[in-house]
Subunit: 96 residues, 2 copies
């Protein structure tokens, strides 16, 4: 399983941001094989993590046309800065 | 580089929680080779990610006596549930 770790400093978010976030989650999970998605925002700091079975799914999702528009909106409008990390999960433990 | 992804549902946090969190970050980064640490809490949801050069550092940190006490406090008091994932970062991109 792979995790895509998205960390961002929010510049300015609006209704479109929330609509887009919801739509992207629906698309990624419904059509691109995304297994799970978690997102936490505190003040201007956002961390979102999506989970995938393989890198091919992640690459395909990155190239989805609606997602590409959303990425562009993120870069130019919603986020002051962000980073993306892709990580291969080597250990997982759900406790308690 | 490895990421330790800690996700938790908070049950009840107190002053001790914040003191402990601060102390653990200081110890992990100062004495165990932790390279970076980010933590975001929204309502009852917490995501914290720490970054390490290798698995040996992560194992050593897990066994630190103060950290073991903190882990126990987390299990029995502060968190309703939590999960830990260790992931090998295969791609990283800081944009904008």
């Amino acid at each position: 399983m792979f995790a895509v770790i998205f960390k961002a400093q929010i510049a300015q978010i609006d209704d479109e941001y929330f609509k887009t976030a919801s739509r992207m989650q629906e698309l990624a999970m419904g059509q691109y094989g995304c297994k799970d998605f978690v997102s936490v925002t505190e003040g201007d700091n956002e961390i979102s993590i999506s989970y995938w079975e393989n890198m091919e799914q992640i690459s395909a999702w990155k190239r989805n046309p609606e997602h590409m528009i959303a990425q562009e909106m993120g870069k130019t409008k919603w986020y002051a800065s962000y980073s993306v990390e892709i990580a291969d999960i080597v250990y997982s433990n759900n406790e308690k």
